[in-house]
Amino acid sequence: MQITDEIIDYVGILAKLELSDEEKEQAKKDMTNMLDYVGKLNELDTDGVEPMSHTFSVHNVFREDVVVNGDDRENMLANAPEKKDGAYKVPRTFD
């Protein structure tokens, strides 16, 4: 599949990435390679084959509804670049 400049720009917007012209060219090449690789699957006739979401045959992995976690705020916030009043501080964001 041919990756166009438009596709690279669009993917950049979705991923919130700003790429230089050089990086864009490299990304175009990489993406084309990847898509060509998995594109091989398109040669197969998959009519009537259920789409597969997992490669292992495990199902129904559940947890009981019991509280096991306590207040670990200090540890949780240890990773925050900025914090205030027990909350993560981020750039002003509108709803």
Partner: protein
């Protein structure tokens, strides 16, 4: 000339499920904790953390699906909905797109005596996002992830509603059904039930749907009704001006009674859904379904019919009592303690509802116990207290759930049945009010009422009214 338009409405209703823990981790879902005190690596999207599904979420989603006549997807999965927003720490929300747990349901509503089925397209399970608080001091946003990962179901209706009245009847039906299931408290004002309204208009008789808008931030039935009227008018004005409705998300401002277009959560509405590789498929066996089906409670409509038939209550009373699960619960619990159903109904319909109205509260938030109401009814039945005192004691029960036996004893509120004491008081009242006594003797029957009142006052409301009347008549 103005054309006739029809409003077409579909709803997306989010309901927070009343589980103890979040959908994918063992953090508490309790409301109102200090910011980020109910969080862990899973619900804050830390790399390497893995979600494990809370089985109770599936149970509750199935129960709601069965109660709304849905087909349960016995082989269902979770998908990732990708978008960037600071309230969403994983940069994706775990939701269900391809195999939602429930499909093709319907609920019956009634507006102005007319019954109608509203279709349910699907119900899916997903996780709630965190909360952003604007900090004016630093002009930044503060993120609290306590709500992040709280289980939600989203109930998507078909575009089957045509008026605000139908929308409210539908929401009320969902709310009552889910409350009776104990799956959620469904409070619009606290956000445990949220409704987004999809609305379009078309000329009456047209086959095609018009372009729709989605309205968010509707926190009460009143706001929903006003927003629907407002949006209908706005779209009609646009069409009448020869312009086109733009498909967009709008936010309702209830103070200004006006909606405005929201900036979308990202520039491109492309969520790139794909199956979540961290969560394995859910296979719901026939046995599992039957188990939940067998545990379904008696719902409002059945309960209402039973109250009329079994207890001989008027339809209006049965409607009010079943209109709040809490009232229905107290009603049944009090009857189970051998209280007369009509008397229990009377206390709930008259005094309870009066206080609820006065305090402008929600009947769901009533806290008094059936035990104490049953005791109060016994006290009145045995004429240990008169009705005036009973009302006073009831207010105490309503506010503090006091034990009426103890309270009446301690405060000395028992009705005075002591004839000697009554006689002495009445003689004094007669001596003090010669005018009324004369009026009565001259044939003014009403004057006795004043004398009864004076006696009750002298006895601090505790006199047996029947005896007071009798003795008064005798002495006059």
């Amino acid at each position: 000339m103005e054309k006739a338009y029809e409003t077409v409405i579909g709803l997306e209703v989010h309901v927070e499920l009343a589980t103890k823990t979040k959908i994918f981790c063992g953090c508490s879902t309790e409301f109102g904790g200090a910011p980020n005190t109910h969080t862990c690596p899973v619900c804050t999207g830390m790399p390497g953390s893995l979600p494990v599904l809370n089985k109770e979420v599936v149970n509750k989603a199935i129960a709601v699906g069965l109660a709304t006549n849905c087909t349960i997807t016995q082989n269902c999965k979770f998908d990732r909905k990708n978008y960037f927003y600071p309230d969403n720490p994983q940069n994706y929300q775990i939701s269900q797109l391809y195999y939602p747990i429930c499909r093709n349901g319907k609920v019956e509503i009634e507006v102005d005596g007319k019954k109608k089925w509203i279709g349910i397209h699907e119900i899916h399970m997903e996780e709630d996002a965190g909360k952003l608080i604007h900090d004016p001091y630093t002009d930044s946003s503060l993120v609290d992830f306590n709500r992040s990962g709280v289980p939600l179901i989203e109930i998507v209706s078909e575009p089957d509603m045509r008026s605000a009245e139908e929308v409210i009847a539908y929401l009320d039906k969902l709310r009552m059904t889910i409350q009776y299931l104990g799956a959620s408290d469904c409070k619009l004002n606290e956000g445990s039930m949220r409704a987004d309204v999809n609305l379009s208009i078309r000329e009456v008789g047209a086959e095609e749907f018009g372009t729709r808008t989605e309205m968010k931030n509707l926190n009460s039935f009143k706001a929903i009704a006003r927003a629907i009227e407002n949006e209908r008018e706005r779209q009609i004005d646009i069409l009448e001006a020869g312009e086109k409705v733009v498909q967009e998300t709008r936010r309702w401002d209830d103070n200004k009674e006006y909606s405005y277009a929201m900036r979308s959560k990202e520039d491109a509405q492309d969520y790139r859904y794909f199956p979540d590789p961290d969560l394995v498929p859910i296979i719901i066996s026939d046995e599992w379904l039957e188990d939940i089906r067998a545990k379904q409670p008696e719902f409002r409509d059945e309960k209402k019919a039973r109250y009329q038939e079994e207890y001989g209550l008027p339809e209006y009373d049965a409607d009010i009592l079943t209109g709040t699960k809490k009232l229905a619960d107290i009603f049944e619990e009090t009857i189970a303690l051998d209280a007369n159903p009509k008397k229990v109904s009377n206390w709930l319909m008259v005094e309870t509802m009066r206080i609820v109205k006065e305090k402008e509260m929600d009947a769901d938030d009533i806290t008094f116990s059936a035990t104490n109401l049953a005791k109060l009814i016994k006290l009145t039945d045995s004429q240990a207290i008169n009705s005036t005192v009973a009302k006073e004691v009831f207010e105490k029960i309503f506010d503090e759930d006091i034990d009426p036996d103890k309270y009446v004893e301690e405060k000395g509120l028992k009705t005075v049945n002591d004839e000697g004491a009554l006689r002495t008081t009445i003689e004094q009242v007669i001596a003090d009010n010669p005018q009324s006594v004369e009026d009565y003797r001259n044939g003014k029957e009403k004057a006795i009422g004043f004398l009864v009142g004076q006696t009750m006052k002298a006895m601090k409301g505790k006199a047996n009214p029947g005896m007071v009347n009798q003795i008064l008549k005798e002495l006059l």
